[in-house]
């Protein structure tokens, strides 16, 4: 079923990845509600916000059906009751207690293990624990091998049967461009560097750990992103949590998105700055916070804030939504604040040339003050980077905790990144169109899932596809049924998502061929019918673009 736009693209023009084929096949533009036949003539509300967007922004989060929400609460209620019963039995020694407790001699001391807070872990998570921490024993490419394990005491302990399940289609690895390979140019280059430099560095960047490979990597990353200078770190989480404290401190204001990653939250808290949260991807909320910050200043003294830093991510991995970067940059310039963009999932995966969300919207990389990203996802390596102006990066080289205390990146990993960046930029001679393949896979997969009737969150162009499950028993059932059919998926539940909105998160890859996707879709269809997961009523709710008023948002002052 080819779309009309595709034929024109195939005729001669360069196929546009992440292109605006949305309008062509009837997908909704931002703000439209499907339902009436003549909906093209209806204009509901603001779509393009004054020409900031060069392409339509198709993002939708279908509302939870009321019956499903009620039944989800029923399920959690039943599990809670049984949880209380089991805890009672454990307390009165009717049943053996298998989680951590203090020794008999220490029963009168201050409690070491917080009993009630682990209620969820003991009684709900343990029952479905076999869907997580599955041991894989091959490279996590498009197909992966997994060691089979069984549990005889209901997931408290696991034993390996010795069998290896081969060729499981991997829909859970962050392997967006397919660089998780154990053969090919990246692997050969990394092997050569391994034999030349060894595996360990045995020092920090500031002492003896600054290799010429690191300098080469940083220059390359800066060129790739279009910024003046960049610095690379050994761990993506540590890049955020150790560098935000170096940039902001007490007396500064951090405006952070509701659904930011734990590394950003930790970095913001460690810095000691005041943190205010704005609603997810909601520009009215952000603007209100900025206005109030400028007008009222710091809480008690009313002095102006030293710095205002906006923390956003490129793609939010739990929702699959893309940040509204043109509007954020417009707000940032209007209110003279700074922008920290975490492109962990979007670098390499979005944009016609794979340079991330800035490239996707066609904006100037110099507008983003601090561009952070990770090498873990699209580049098949490990680590993170920060890019920006030369003064900023030179400052971070001296003052970042990660530069001073953390061991620098291992040389084969650095070589893997260098080779993969050159491959994406098309400089190494091979013309593998990974970015286009990923975009095609994304569009195809999302379209097919929506047609089947599942509720899918997020933007049309994001390679992270969350499929809503809602009920706790279906989380476990989905993971197990998909594994029975040789498809590996990642299911996510309560602490990472709101309690009733549990989901299965698919991460598409350029390494997935159409046959693999078709097979995965067939199995998802089957499991969806078996577990009755097709909740969608094909009514998309428009994104909350309503103008705010004084009663809409509550601020909390720290």
């Amino acid at each position: 079923m080819e779309r009309p736009g595709r034929a024109a693209a195939a005729a001669g023009a360069q196929p546009r990845a992440n292109g605006c084929s949305g309008a062509a096949h009837g997908a909704l533009r931002n703000g439209y509600v499907r339902g009436l036949p003549a909906h093209d003539t209806q204009v509901n509300h603001i779509v393009h916000n004054g020409g900031l967007y060069k392409r339509p922004f198709n993002e939708a989060f279908e509302e939870t059906p009321m019956l499903v929400a009620v039944l989800t609460y029923v399920g959690y209620g039943v599990l809670t009751l049984f949880g209380y019963l089991r805890d009672f039995m454990r307390q009165w020694k009717i049943e053996k207690c298998q989680n951590a407790t203090e020794r008999e001699e220490q029963k009168d001391f201050v409690p070491l293990y917080q009993d009630f807070e682990n209620f969820y872990t003991r009684n709900l998570y343990m029952r479905i624990r076999d869907s997580w921490n599955r041991p894989i024993c091959s490279v996590p490419g498009a197909k992966v091998d997994m060691m089979e394990r069984v549990s005889h005491d209901y997931n408290w302990t696991f034993t390996y049967t010795g069998r290896v399940i081969k060729d499981i289609i991997n829909m859970g690895s962050y392997n967006y461009l397919g660089f998780a390979q154990n053969a090919g140019t990246c692997q050969e280059a990394a092997a050569k560097v391994l034999s030349q430099y060894g595996a360990g560095v045995c020092s920090t960047r500031q002492e003896m750990g600054n290799l010429d490979k690191h300098e080469e990597l940083e220059k390359l990353v800066a060129r790739f992103l279009g910024v003046e200078s960049a610095m690379a770190y050994g761990m993506g989480f540590a890049t955020n949590s150790m560098n935000i404290p170096a940039l902001v401190g007490k007396g500064c204001l951090i405006l952070s998105d509701e659904l930011n990653h734990a590394s950003l939250v930790l970095g913001a808290r460690l810095s000691g700055a005041t943190i205010r949260i704005f609603k997810h991807n909601n520009m009215q909320s952000l603007e209100k916070l900025l206005k109030d910050a400028i007008v009222h200043g710091q809480p008690r003294t009313r002095r102006p804030w030293k710095k205002i830093l906006i923390l956003v991510e490129g793609i939010y991995s739990m929702e699959g939504s893309i940040v509204r970067l043109p509007e954020v940059i417009a707000l940032k310039k209007k209110y003279k604040s700074y922008l920290y963009l975490d492109e962990a999932h979007s670098i390499g995966a979005l944009g016609p040339s794979g340079r991330g969300v800035v490239d996707y919207f066609g904006l100037n990389p110099e507008d983003v003050d601090i561009m952070m990203g990770t090498f873990t996802k699209s580049f098949g390596a490990a680590g993170g980077y920060i890019g920006g102006k030369k003064e900023l990066i030179d400052y971070l080289r001296t003052y970042s905790h990660s530069a001073v205390y953390a061991t620098s990146m291992s040389p084969p990993v650095v070589e893997q990144i260098i080779t993969s960046v050159k491959c994406i930029m098309g400089e190494d001679g091979t013309t593998v169109a990974r970015v286009q393949q990923l975009a095609e896979n994304t569009r195809y997969f999302r379209r097919r899932l929506k047609e089947m009737g599942f509720i899918i969150y997020g933007n049309e162009d994001s390679p992270v596809v969350p499929l809503m499950l809602y009920m706790p028993a279906k989380i476990g059932a989905f993971g197990r049924e998909m594994l029975k059919r040789n498809i590996g998926v990642v299911v996510v539940g309560f602490p990472a998502t709101p309690i009733i909105e549990s989901r299965a998160r698919f991460c598409l890859s350029a390494a997935h061929t159409k046959e693999m996707l078709d097979r995965a879709l067939k199995e998802i269809d089957e499991v969806g019918d078996l577990l009755q997961l097709k909740y969608s009523r094909h009514r998309l709710v428009p994104i909350l673009d309503r103008p705010f008023d004084e009663t809409t948002y509550e601020e909390t002052e720290d």
Binding site: L71, L79, F82, Y154, M471, A473, L531
Partner: protein, 77 residues
């Protein structure tokens, strides 16, 4: 083949019940407890309905009828 389809459909319905009430995740003794409780409750509701619903209906019928001329002649012992 209708019986087989019917049986498969009923089994599928039972699976949906198990998934919604999370008895899919319970250990066998917990399932026994849960089903016993549910079936007992269901039985008690049905039994109460069997005993009291006819009486309620006839009382209500009597009450509504006594407002019309015909109702004066209706006596139920």
């Amino acid at each position: 083949m209708d019986i087989k389809n019917m049986k498969n459909y009923l089994y599928w319905l039972f699976c949906q019940f198990e998934l919604i009430t999370c008895s899919y995740l319970m250990e066998p003794w917990e399932k026994v407890l849960f089903y016993t409780f549910n079936i007992t409750m269901l039985f008690m509701v049905l039994y109460t309905a069997y005993i009291y619903v006819p009486i309620h209906i006839s009382t209500a019928f009597q009450f509504c009828l006594c407002f019309s001329k015909l109702g004066m002649y209706v006596f139920i012992e």
